[in-house]
């Protein structure tokens, strides 16, 4: 039976534990659901380390565990917004250790996002707080192949910390999210994070309408590796809509737009989270751009 993303993460983690003596560290790992089914159910196993609820110190413990050690350390930050606490030692020590002191600190961090009536910390992506810092690799995979790419990249580097920004909406996914690069398309959509799911639906809406649109998925954020064909697509369409699940203002989408504008003469529009805090109810929520919002933004760019 084909595995979903959560099962694949669990499988790879188990492989790391038994083949490379990896440890998995975090809070409430063995609680109900074993982190959405992504952690192998190994009660009392010495390589599954339940930490205290001290988020700042916990990040430091994980950094210390990974310091100058060949054996992998997987650190799970159960809500991506908890990176505000947990990232302190990751970006200020692990990310700098090899550059400043010549000592590798290859910590693998899984920071899990979600969204929907869950407030400003647990909701949405918070990867932008890491992206400006040197020495840390950042990926935002939504599929199995992408997650495995991030993991393999980490082990090929194995000097610096790697943050895998996951999203719970992606855990049940079995299929890959594929790019679409057609001929004579009128606009290019570049999608990041969980907004990629909305972007895929928006793409289908355009297809039904007969509007030709190119769609590209970006998950390799730092180092930034553009999807194949993106530049060629924008060169033809001259218009690019960037959609993201992080704040747009001063966030990744605006930065991506600036980077693209340096190499291409094109019109760029970004669509991310509006600049307000997510509440804890449906009426006060601050969600990733919806398919309809993406379609409307694309239409505006087309006019």
């Amino acid at each position: 039976m084909e595995l979903d993303l959560a099962s694949e993460i669990r499988r790879r983690t188990e492989e790391l534990i038994y083949q490379r003596d990896a440890v998995v560290m975090g809070q409430c790992l063995s609680a109900v659901g074993w982190v959405g089914g992504t952690v192998p159910e190994l009660p009392n196993h010495p390589n599954i380390i339940e930490l205290s609820m001290a988020d700042v110190a916990g990040g430091g413990f994980a950094v210390g565990a990974a310091l100058d050690d060949e054996r992998p350390v997987v650190y799970i930050v159960r809500y991506q917004g908890f990176l505000w606490y947990n990232a302190i030692s990751i970006v200020n020590y692990a990310a700098k250790s090899f550059e400043l002191f010549g000592v590798p600190c290859p910590l693998l961090i899984r920071a899990i996002a979600m969204e929907g009536s869950i407030g400003p910390v647990a909701g949405n992506y918070h990867l932008s707080l890491l992206l400006r810092m040197p020495g840390v690799n950042v990926f935002a995979p939504m599929t199995k192949n992408e997650w495995n790419f991030a993991l393999d990249f980490h082990f090929n580097d194995y000097k610096r910390p790697t943050v895998i920004g996951e999203h719970r909406l992606a855990f049940p996914l079995k299929e890959e999210l594929v790019n679409y690069h057609g001929k004579k398309s009128r606009i290019t959509i570049l999608a990041v994070g969980s907004a990629r799911l909305s972007a895929s639906k928006a793409f289908q809406m355009f297809q039904k309408e007969g509007v030709k649109v190119d769609l590209f998925h970006l998950f390799k954020l730092q180092p930034l590796i553009w999807p194949d064909g993106l530049v060629e697509s924008i060169a033809v369409t001259g218009k690019c809509l960037i959609v993201d699940s992080d704040y747009a203002n001063w966030g990744p989408s605006e930065n991506l737009g600036f980077k693209l504008s340096k190499v291409l003469k094109c019109r760029i529009q970004v669509l991310g989270l509006p600049r307000r805090s997510a509440g804890f109810s449906t009426i006060t929520d601050n969600l990733s751009p919806s398919p309809q919002q993406i379609v409307e933004a694309a239409r505006e760019l087309l006019t």
Partner: protein, 276 residues
């Protein structure tokens, strides 16, 4: 503590003192362009720990004001000088400065600049490697919330952490009594760590180390006096206590004058060569 160990502590303390005075002189002469963090007056702590454990025998997680640990635990003083003067020909291209010195060969790890973050990192290192570690803080950084959370974790999980709090009663110039009412040794005990509040007399430090089982957390709050502040700009008091001088007197009083003078002569030669 036997005679040889006492003389070793004196040798290291005396060398550290003179190394630090050399750094202060260079700084005063405008030949060092980075902030310097001197440990003059506090040498006996690192010296005693290094003689007790042996050089290169325990991973060290300190922060700024750690020249004494670098030297005491066997680091190359020329390399340290080069790191402090930011010599671009050093292994780290002069990126160390005084605040974040490190040396893989003596297992001394660098510091990020965030006060106290070396403690949770030391705890994680000890947990993963399964070995005892030494971490050093001041009486200010021990107040960091993540340091206290680290002690709680170390106590609960029997992490073999030796946490040394060098307590000169001041954060910059703000005394402890203005900042807090609690004492770190009491907090540590509440977290199931061993703990004591002692002076920086080598004999006293030594006796506490002997009592440590080395398989759980020990916190030593060591009261000490800093003679020169960050850039050699001032001192804790007009007539600060001088543990090095007192320790020297104690050695002389038991008939070790010749050995003391011999140590001083040899150290002075090395120091002179280092600065010239």
């Amino acid at each position: 503590m036997n005679e040889f160990q006492k003389l070793e502590i004196f040798r290291k303390s005396h060398f550290i003192r003179n190394f630090e005075l050399g750094i202060a002189s260079l700084h005063s002469a405008g030949k060092i362009n980075v902030p310097i963090y001197l440990g003059i007056g506090q040498e006996s702590i690192a010296a005693t720990l290094s003689v007790f454990f042996g050089e290169r025998s325990i991973p060290i997680f300190a922060q700024h004001r750690a020249h004494s640990y670098f030297i005491a635990f066997g680091g190359d003083s020329l390399d340290l000088k080069n790191q402090i003067i930011s010599n671009p020909e050093t292994w780290n291209l002069g990126s160390g400065g005084s605040a974040s010195i490190s040396d893989k060969s003596i297992r001394m790890f660098g510091h990020s600049g965030l006060m106290g973050d070396q403690v949770p990192i030391a705890v994680g290192y000890a947990m993963r490697k399964g070995e005892r570690v030494l971490s050093v803080v001041g009486d200010a950084s021990v107040e960091e919330d993540y340091v206290l959370a680290s002690l709680a974790f170390a106590g609960s999980n029997s992490i073999p952490l030796l946490l040394i709090c060098e307590d000169n009663d001041l954060s910059i110039l703000t005394p402890k009594k203005v900042r807090r009412t609690w004492r770190v040794e009491n907090v540590a005990r509440a977290f199931d760590c061993q703990a004591a509040d002692i002076t920086d007399n080598p004999e006293e430090i030594w006796s506490r180390l002997i009592d440590w089982n080395q398989s759980s957390c020990l916190v030593l709050n060591i009261r000490t006096t800093r003679h020169l502040w960050h850039a050699g700009s001032g001192r804790d008091s007009e007539n600060p206590a001088d543990t090095l001088s007192e320790f020297r007197d104690s050695l002389l009083s038991v008939g070790l004058e010749n050995q003391v003078l011999d140590i001083e002569q040899k150290n002075n030669k090395v120091i002179e060569a280092l600065w010239n």
